[in-house]
């Protein structure tokens, strides 16, 4: 992986003009001197997880219609990012996701029911962040970038080999916190990777109203952070680029900023009406660049994916969706008493009084 020899990175902070890629939109391999095609088993795993991830996503959207989820922000069309980046992480690394990254979470191994707790409304967060090394899904935009930098810097201070990967959207790059995080990361040379999923919109606001630089990756320049522009619908390239950045970070080479150009196929959430601000044509053009189709075409052409394996993967996805349906169709158990339990390490006297008051009301 020639790109990342450190001196070269330092000299040229500018990202490439065109996004890096390893697969064309129809799945032909691209030879890029800067990127190495992942091994076959990795590609097969990417495929499998993307198929399962997409099925999960469809299922979650369906659950909103059945009133089983309060809201769901779909990442359909962004599976290369969601899956490619997570598979590129090592076990000891940390992931800092947003509300949109449920597929990344399940790919990381967080149980579906724990992943969906937030959106189901049972609690604010359903999993143990330390167990999975996955921070709670973050809603206040860009705030998670700073948490990632802090966690990564602490790892460095402790001499731990841990890299933090933080996910943000295109819109979130406009927030001051993104800027502060890139700068702290650069000054501290913290082992952190910033992955911007540029899916074209911040709710209804298109890139043209968000940023007029040649790319969002260009933002790295002002901090001395090497930046990479990558085709966000190319799972092979995504994996290669994130893996590379994680390695550089782990080796003490500091942060990397990655912008992945992708597209949000669904509306912002099930509650949004995307027809108000974009054309069906635009969506159709992006459907044509589907990340799952792309890797499937490549693996099929390479003879690595046959109908049998395709069927196995599809069956796994269906079975997974069924299990998600099942757990999510069960009524959530909520306990009003829990409201007071976690506010402080020990409930204060006031909270105990308030808990008693509520218990009395409910008695």
């Amino acid at each position: 992986m020639a790109r990342t020899s450190l001196p070269a990175r330092e000299r040229s902070l500018l990202p490439t003009d065109a996004p890096l890629s390893l697969l064309t939109k129809t799945g032909e391999p691209v030879v890029d001197p800067e990127l190495v095609m992942p091994d076959d088993d990795v590609l097969l795993e990417l495929h499998r997880r993307m198929v399962v991830g997409r099925r999960f996503d469809t299922q979650a959207t369906a659950l909103t219609r059945q009133g089983r989820l309060a809201v769901y922000p779909s990442s359909r069309g962004q599976e290369a990012c969601e899956v490619g980046s997570v598979l590129a992480l090592r076990e000891q690394d940390w992931l800092f996701p947003t509300y949109r990254d449920s597929v990344a979470l399940v790919t990381r191994g967080v149980p579906a029911v724990e992943t969906l707790t937030l959106l189901q409304g049972g609690w604010h967060n359903g999993y143990d962040p330390h167990e999975h090394r996955v921070a709670p899904q973050c809603t206040p935009l860009a705030t998670n970038t700073l948490h990632a930098v802090g966690l990564a810097h602490a790892a460095k201070l402790k001499g731990e080999d841990t890299v933090a990967l933080v996910l943000v959207g295109d819109g979130a790059t406009s927030e001051g916190d993104t800027h502060e995080a890139l700068n702290f990361a650069a000054v501290w040379q913290a082992p952190v990777v910033f992955l911007v999923q540029n899916n074209g919109y911040a709710i209804s606001v298109p890139m043209s109203k968000q940023n007029v630089a040649p790319s969002l990756a260009h933002k790295g320049v002002g901090y001395g952070v090497p930046s990479v522009l990558v085709d966000g619908n190319d799972p092979a390239a995504l994996y290669a680029v994130v893996r590379d950045a994680v390695r550089v970070a782990a080796e003490g080479g500091g942060p990397t900023l990655i912008e992945a150009i992708t597209y949000r196929v669904e509306a912002h959430t099930n509650a949004d009406d995307a027809t108000r601000y974009r054309d069906a044509d635009e969506v159709a053009a992006w459907l044509d660049r589907d990340p799952v189709d792309r890797i499937e075409a490549y693996l099929t052409a390479r003879g690595l994916l046959d109908d049998a394996r395709r069927a196995t993967v599809a069956a796994e996805a269906e079975a997974y969706a069924a299990s998600v349906r099942e757990v999510m169709n069960a009524d959530v158990e909520v306990d009003p008493a829990e409201l007071f339990e976690h506010v402080y390490a020990e409930p204060t006297r006031q909270l105990r009084e308030q808990a008693a008051l509520l218990a009395e009301e409910l008695a």
């Binding site: 309060a70 409304g121 604010h124 001051g176 709710i203 601000y277 009003p336 506010v343 006031q350 509520l358």
Partner: protein
């Protein structure tokens, strides 16, 4: 006169203000073609053009900070924060600049900015979407803080806010966006900073604002059964506070309860209790009590019903107002 939801009334107020004064600008996240996530700005970009109604980059400090600069140059920006908790990134601009600009420049620089913030819970929103942040703003000298409880006030107070030479934090009770009522445009009869007695009563004053006005009125109806004649005061202007109307009522009834969604500790209700007690001490038959959210972060959707002040909890609290007068004494 027409029947409108509060969101419709707010939309009409914005349209009428844009029509009436070309210095008025509306901007923020998704307020353009989308019309805002709550559709309060629906149709305005199409009608007034994207020089007057426009989407900004996603940055709240940026929105408020540039609004201040625009106001310095004669504009009257009306900006939207998408949800309550997403106004926090703008806290420094609001507190250190918006609130202080007039004072620090001895009145030479006016910054008539209106910040619209949908606030409060009751809509099944996930974390960070249901904060009641009024206490942060009401404690900040130099800001006006108002909140409508009815569609008519949605219209009137927003027009007043836009006309005001002072910066205004305009808190929109998001769970009441869809409540309907009669709305008369362009005929603002109640002063911008006056409270209103929404329902007269003899026995106890229920002090509410924003989303709790409807709950207070409901409680007043239910209280009849208990034999209590409840007076409901809608504060409307949280800052400045209308001592006259509120204390007038409490002096008459001798008992009062303040209701709000925000956590009680250090909440706005504390100020109401403190000033009413100070001013009406000898008219009080019982301490002024509060019914508020608990001192916890806003709960997840499936638990919010336990958090939000409702009719029963308010009635219980009224019941604790020492109706048996002999109990009273030093």
């Amino acid at each position: 006169m027409s029947t409108l939801s509060m969101s419709g009334a707010l939309n009409m107020a914005l349209a009428d203000a844009l029509e009436a004064d070309e210095r008025v600008l509306v901007f923020g996240e998704d307020v353009g073609p989308l019309g805002g996530v709550f559709r309060i700005t629906d149709g305005l970009a199409a009608r007034f053009g994207d020089r007057r109604v426009f989407d900004t980059p996603l940055a709240e400090s940026g929105i408020v900070g540039t609004a201040i600069g625009m106001a310095m140059n004669g504009m009257r920006p009306v900006v939207e924060m998408q949800f309550d908790a997403f106004a926090y990134p703008a806290f420094e601009q609001i507190t250190s600049h918006l609130a202080k600009m007039r004072n620090r420049t001895r009145g030479k620089v006016e910054v008539p900015v209106v910040i619209r913030i949908p606030y409060g819970g009751g809509i099944g929103g996930v974390e960070h979407h249901c904060d009641s942040s009024e206490a942060y703003y009401t404690h900040t000298s130099g800001l006006r803080v108002v909140t409508p409880g009815t569609p008519q006030d949605g219209y009137d107070l927003l027009r007043d806010a836009i006309d005001s030479p002072d910066p205004v934090i305009f808190l929109e009770p998001k769970r009441r966006y869809w409540s309907k009522g009669e709305v008369v445009a362009d005929q603002r009869r109640t002063g911008f900073d006056r409270a209103l007695i929404r329902r007269p009563g003899e026995d106890v004053t229920l002090i509410a604002y924003g989303p709790m006005v409807a709950t207070a009125l409901e409680t007043a109806e239910a209280a009849k059964e208990e034999g209590w004649d409840v007076e409901v005061v809608d504060l409307r202007s949280l800052s400045p506070f209308d001592d006259e109307t509120v204390c007038g009522s409490v002096r008459r009834t001798g008992r009062a309860v303040v209701v709000h969604e925000a956590a009680g500790f250090g909440g706005y209700g504390a100020e109401v209790v403190a000033r009413v007690t100070e001013r009406c001490f000898h008219h009080l038959h019982a301490p002024v009590l509060r019914v508020t959210g608990f001192d916890i972060p806003y709960p997840p959707p499936k638990l919010e019903e336990h958090f939000l002040p409702g009719v029963d909890r308010i009635l219980d609290t009224i019941g604790r107002l020492q109706w048996d007068d002999e109990v009273r004494g030093a």
